[in-house]
């Protein structure tokens, strides 16, 4: 069955510290992969996406993610966290290519708190 696992429900880091949010997926074919962020009171904003090519993907707000096929992972990283990064982060996967099936499958989300 297709699924996305975000093992960490809640993470707290200090401002300036590095961050890694984990995402593992189970998918029958090569997926395309996304990270979205939801800040308090806001909608879901796309941070970055992976379709093909370079497995290290750069996104907005200084985030990057690395696709590791052998580990079925797509972990999100940031070298130095800012207080404004406190939000909920969602990993999602979808089918690669055109077709009728376009729905995204989501992880539970990871809530990030940042200590000053």
């Amino acid at each position: 069955a297709q699924s996305v696992t975000q093992p960490d429900i809640h993470i707290t880091v200090s401002e300036g510290a590095s961050l890694e949010l984990r995402c593992n997926y189970s998918y029958g074919a090569t997926p395309y992969l996304f990270w979205y962020v939801q800040s308090p009171g806001q909608g879901l904003q796309l941070l970055l996406k992976y379709f093909s090519g370079d497995t290290l993907v750069q996104g907005i707000k200084g985030f990057e993610a690395e696709f590791k096929r052998s580990q079925s992972s797509f972990n999100l990283r940031k070298p130095s966290v800012h207080w404004s990064d406190a939000a909920e982060y969602f990993c999602a996967v979808g089918p690669l290519g055109a077709g009728n099936n376009r729905k995204l499958i989501w992880g539970l989300g990871t809530s990030l708190a940042v200590n000053p």
Binding site: G43, L44, L46, G94, G97, N101, R102, K103, L108, G109
Partner: protein
């Protein structure tokens, strides 16, 4: 360019009442999606429109939910009658047609509370 908008942002209704949620996609986006997040659970797909046609409604929970997209522009999601388990955040997303790997852009969501 305006993003995806949703109305209302919050709705509190009593069990058995009817509620209609509205989504305005990004102009020019033929694909429109509805998702729902129940508290403590993952975001789940409800359905997908291409223009005014329902492409995939496999995620609709039951026949109390009715989605429409007349004219291929905005969409409404009606819940009638609402039950307690319908509470959650309803997200709408849109994407352009024709891309092999489309990116979905999301609205702020409508938080529905059924009492």
């Amino acid at each position: 360019e305006a993003g995806v908008t949703q109305f209302p942002s919050h709705s509190v209704i009593e069990k058995g009442q009817t509620v209609t949620l509205r989504c305005d996609p990004i102009s020019g986006h033929d694909n429109l999606y509805w998702y729902r997040r129940v508290m403590g659970k993952e975001i789940k797909f409800l359905l997908h429109f291409v223009k005014e046609s329902k492409q995939d409604e496999s995620g609709m929970p039951n026949n109390r939910f009715l989605a429409e997209r007349t004219g291929g522009t905005y969409s409404t999601l009606k819940v009638q009658p609402a039950e307690l388990e319908d509470s959650g955040v309803y997200f709408c997303a849109s994407s352009q047609e024709g891309f092999p790997t489309d990116t979905q852009y999301f609205g702020p969501g409508t938080r529905l509370t059924v009492l």
